[in-house]
């Protein structure tokens, strides 16, 4: 759920732009570096961006039976790293706003922070942390995708709560209210996205090993090569 166009007061729009800007600029620098070193990586980065854009159009079955679309920030963070995702998510969110009427230009700063920064970083930390603890890759993937998804919606709830304090219960009440609407419906979807991620990764390690190795997602490990 992106924050719709015009939904945030002016001061909040500006503030979220300011908060997101350093992350996006940092990501853009990394992207420019890569593009200079390897000109061909422009096309691969673009492929990654298009993949992220199209991911949100895939129908995902939820545990509750209703269907929704994956949020994709966790998978993107694991595959392409959070700084690059900060940049790619910004482009994707601009496209979603202007091509799909999903999100908005005034709320872009806020949406970039929740979907392009908070979600990917938290997902990435889950992935790295799980790997450090020596947990199975599937656990890391599941946690990364599920928590990236959940944290995106948590952040969105906080953003809306800050903008519209409840006349009775204040900011805290308002945040709780938005969480009630978004997060509770989102928990089953986060679990579904985590499961989807595990399945996708299993397929990709089968058919796209060279691509994953190139991205540095998996190491060309001897033991696995032998096991296969």
């Amino acid at each position: 759920m992106h924050i719709a166009e015009g939904f945030l007061p002016v001061a909040h729009c500006v503030a979220w732009y300011a908060v997101s800007a350093p992350f996006v600029i940092h990501g853009a620098r990394k992207v420019i570096e890569q593009a200079k070193e390897h000109p061909e990586s422009r096309l691969l980065l673009a492929a990654a961006g298009a993949f992220t854009f199209v991911l949100s159009s895939i129908k995902l079955p939820s545990v509750t039976g209703s269907s929704s679309h994956p949020n994709g920030t966790g998978l993107g963070a694991v595959l392409f790293r959070p700084p690059v995702m900060a940049f790619l998510s910004t482009i994707v969110l601009i496209f979603q706003a202007l091509l799909l009427a999903h999100g908005g230009i005034t709320t872009l700063g806020a949406n970039v922070f929740s979907m392009g920064i908070a979600g990917p970083w938290i997902g990435y930390w889950c992935w790295v942390g799980s790997n450090k603890l020596g947990w199975h890759r599937n656990v890391g993937v599941f946690l990364a995708l599920a928590f990236a998804d959940l944290s995106t919606y948590l952040v969105t709830s906080v953003q809306l709560g800050l903008a519209f304090p409840d006349p009775v219960s204040g900011i805290a009440g308002s945040v709780a209210k938005f969480m009630g609407v978004f997060v509770i419906s989102q928990v089953p979807l986060a679990i579904a996205e985590g499961i989807l991620g595990v399945l996708v990764f299993r397929l990709l390690t089968d058919v796209a090993r060279p691509e994953l190795e190139r991205l540095g997602v998996i190491k060309p490990s001897m033991s696995e090569a032998v096991a296969r």
């Binding site: 759920m1 719709a4 166009e5 015009g6 939904f7 945030l8 002016v10 729009c13 853009a28 992207v31 420019i32 593009a35 000109p39 061909e40 422009r42 096309l43 691969l44 980065l45 673009a46 492929a47 990654a48 961006g49 298009a50 993949f51 199209v54 991911l55 159009s57 895939i58 129908k59 079955p61 994956p70 790619l88 482009i91 496209f95 706003a97 202007l98 091509l99 799909l100 009427a101 999903h102 908005g104 809306l160 519209f164 409840d166 006349p167 009775v168 219960s169 009440g173 709780a176 209210k177 938005f178 009630g180 609407v181 499961i195 989807l196 399945l199 996708v200 397929l203 796209a208 691509e211």
Partner: protein
């Protein structure tokens, strides 16, 4: 085909496509700023009316298409507005209540969000994405970033088509008949799309090298017409809306 690309099609077929992004930017961003900074009544409402008139008039979006593209934002605005309208508190148990303040905020929010959405549509329905990216290039955004964004735009359409084709092929073989089948199908679809986007990039790279690609994807831009009259008229409209809103405030 994907649902939302009606906006893209509207932009490419709009009579305003040949206008420069500078001109349209002044109008649309001006309306957008007015929508979120003026009081909802009458400023926001005036922006909404102006946006609607522009969209159905010179931008020629048409009622049917406008209905198709505005449906999604309206639903998302309604969910948010309803959440704002209802107040919650904890008083030994969860208490839901409607306060006049909450309803008032929600009402203003609804008008403002709708006005802003229509203002954004005046840009999105008259200006292809690629023209906006070219404008960013003129605004000194580094070339590499613009090139990547332009390629994402180009790749997205083919990939959306593939996603649709894969989904419909899976559905035909009952891939979404049960929940576990659906999960399996969706994961296969995502993996296939990942591979396809990768493959697409590799093949395009080979093709572009043959056309002299070394380190930049430079292209010329088709001519766009700038009009001082258009900018002046836009400014006049914005000033009229702002002045009207302020006058109303003072008078009441």
């Amino acid at each position: 085909m994907a649902h939302g690309l009606a906006l893209d099609h509207a932009a490419w077929s709009s009579p305003w496509r040949s206008r420069s992004v500078r001109d349209k930017g002044v109008l649309s961003l001006g309306l957008l700023v007015a929508a979120i900074s003026l009081p909802a009544w009458p400023g926001g409402a005036a922006v909404a009316v102006a946006g609607l008139v522009l969209l159905l008039g010179p931008i020629r979006v048409g009622w049917a298409r406008l209905g198709r593209i505005i449906w999604l934002p309206v639903v998302s605005i309604l969910i948010g507005v309803a959440t704002v309208a209802v107040s919650v508190s904890w008083d030994g148990g969860l208490r839901l209540q409607l306060t006049s303040e909450g309803i008032d905020t929600a009402g203003r929010l609804a008008v403002r969000a709708l006005a802003a959405t229509l203002a954004m549509f005046t840009l999105a329905c008259s200006t292809p994405m690629i023209d906006l990216l070219s404008a960013l290039r003129h605004a000194r955004v580094p070339d590499a970033l613009i090139e990547i964004a332009a390629l994402i735009y180009r790749f997205s359409f083919g990939l959306l088509e593939s996603a649709g084709a894969i989904h419909s092929a899976q559905e035909a073989r009952l891939g979404y008949a049960t929940r576990s089948a659906a999960m399996r199908s969706a994961s296969m679809g995502v993996a296939a799309l990942f591979l396809r986007s990768w493959d697409r990039a590799r093949r395009l790279e080979a093709g572009l090298v043959g056309r002299g690609y070394e380190d930049a994807l430079r292209t010329l831009e088709p001519p766009r017409q700038r009009s001082a009259g258009f900018v002046a008229a836009s400014a006049a409209l914005l000033v009229a809306i702002a002045a009207g809103a302020v006058a109303w405030q003072v008078l009441t």
